[in-house]
């Protein structure tokens, strides 16, 4: 039943912008991340997209959020 909750929670934290290396992030950001992930899931449910598409979206979301973060940091260094 509860499988996937742990990962969705993690997705919300990462999308909120908390660094997985530690040292950067806040509870407010996580709250925003939770809102974002929940609203996104809700939109998909309401528009009738199945479980598979929801999983794909969350996966893409995690990778995209972290990629943008990583690229932004790279750009800031150089």
């Amino acid at each position: 039943m509860s499988t996937g909750f742990d990962f969705r929670a993690l997705a919300a934290i990462i999308v909120g912008g908390t660094s997985v290396f530690g040292g950067r992030g806040s509870v407010m950001r996580t709250l925003l991340g939770v809102v974002f992930v929940s609203v996104l899931t809700n939109i998909m449910v309401l528009s009738g997209l199945g479980f598979g598409y929801q999983q794909m979206a969350i996966g893409a979301l995690i990778v995209a959020a972290v990629s943008i973060d990583a690229l932004a940091r790279k750009a800031a260094v150089t």
Binding site: V20, G50, G52, I58, V63, V66
Partner: protein, 343 residues
């Protein structure tokens, strides 16, 4: 295990016993051997059926072991691949959706390679922590498996091939077990004898030093992830053939078990240390344990608890971390009475 630590690693032992002890200190499989002995003897006494019906046990070991082999290569470089279980599912679904069996297998394996390359791309080019990158891929691919299969198991067109695949080929060995042994030998030789494979240890042990020594670190990471993806896809193909259907939820329990196999086998999560042989031992003990528990009527949830405990035990008793753990515990309790400066 503490005794072994005291022995100098580079020492050239004059007498035989010292040389044996030096080799033992170098090896990383100590815990896997211990666990295998405990599990093996315990099972021998309590549930001897596990050994008399060894084809079943071997099949279980091959299931856990194959994915764990690919994972070992990635962990050796200090990276993680959480996407293996989802890769397994996607490869299976892709294979079953293609009517031609041979073409399906080839495409499924190619999908595994591509997934590995994509994982490596995020890790190497974007510089994302591999844990997060492959976590995202875990979701994405699991979702993709559901979308491609229409959220229900896909039947294999050529069911006869699947049925004959499940039959013993040589002696009692089914093709699955033979393929597993083949993959084990291939990866073992690759990591210990081939230069590219040996450089994986260098990449995991000290990335800066490896880079300075002229090892193309980025290309090695690409290779490692692609091996992991390929092996996971191979496991997916085998699974689909044996069940004559591809289930999008396939392999959801494989991730934990294969990780546990590699860690118990002495593969250091930080990379640089470990062996494919250790992973084999780890997978063997876990496979025997799972079959024994299943035969004694222990439920899957309880089995997961036991595997989780074994994994924790393996992580704590890692010779290098054991010292740190003891030191931490000591400073923790001392720190309460007299706080250390900077601690």
């Amino acid at each position: 295990m503490n005794q072994r630590q005291g022995i100098q690693l580079g020492e050239e032992g004059g007498n035989f016993i010292r040389r044996v002890r030096t080799t033992l200190a170098r090896r990383t499989e100590g815990r896997a051997v211990a666990l295998l002995l405990v599990v093996g003897i315990g099972t021998w006494i309590l549930e001897p059926v596990v050994f008399t019906s060894y084809p079943v046990t071997l099949g279980r070991i091959a299931l856990i072991g194959l994915v764990a082999l690919g994972l070992t290569v990635v962990i050796l470089m200090g990276e993680l691949d959480l996407a293996v279980a989802s890769t397994l599912a996607v490869a299976g679904v892709v294979m079953a959706s293609i009517d031609n069996l041979a073409l399906g297998i080839v495409v499924a394996l190619a999908v595994g390679l591509v997934i590995g390359a994509v994982n490596a791309f995020f890790v190497v080019v974007f510089g994302i922590n591999s844990f997060i990158a492959t976590l995202g891929m875990l979701f994405f691919l699991r979702g993709a498996a559901f979308v491609l299969s229409g959220e229900e198991p896909v039947r294999l067109t050529n069911i006869d091939a699947g049925i004959s695949f499940g039959k013993p080929l040589i002696g009692d060995f089914t093709p699955r077990i033979l393929l597993f042994i083949l993959a084990f030998v291939a990866i073992h030789i690759f990591v210990t004898r081939v230069r590219v494979g040996r450089e994986f240890y260098a990449v995991g042990g000290n990335r800066e030093a490896a880079y300075d020594a002229g090892i193309p670190v980025k290309r090695r990471i690409f290779t490692g992830f692609m091996i992991s993806g390929f092996v996971a896809a191979l496991a997916g193909v085998i699974n689909t053939l044996e069940r004559t259907a591809a289930d999008p939820t396939a392999g959801s329990t494989v991730l934990l078990a294969s990780f546990a196999a590699a860690i118990i086998g002495g593969v250091l999560l930080n990379g640089g240390r470990g062996s494919v042989f250790g992973t084999l031992l780890g997978a063997t003990s876990l496979g025997i344990l799972q079959v024994a528990l299943t035969l004694s009527g222990v439920q899957v949830d309880v089995q997961n608890i036991i595997i989780g405990l074994v994994l924790l035990l393996a992580l704590i008793t890692d010779p290098t971390t054991l010292k740190t753990v003891l030191g931490n515990a000591r400073s923790f309790f001392q720190g309460r009475s007299s706080p250390q400066p900077g601690g």
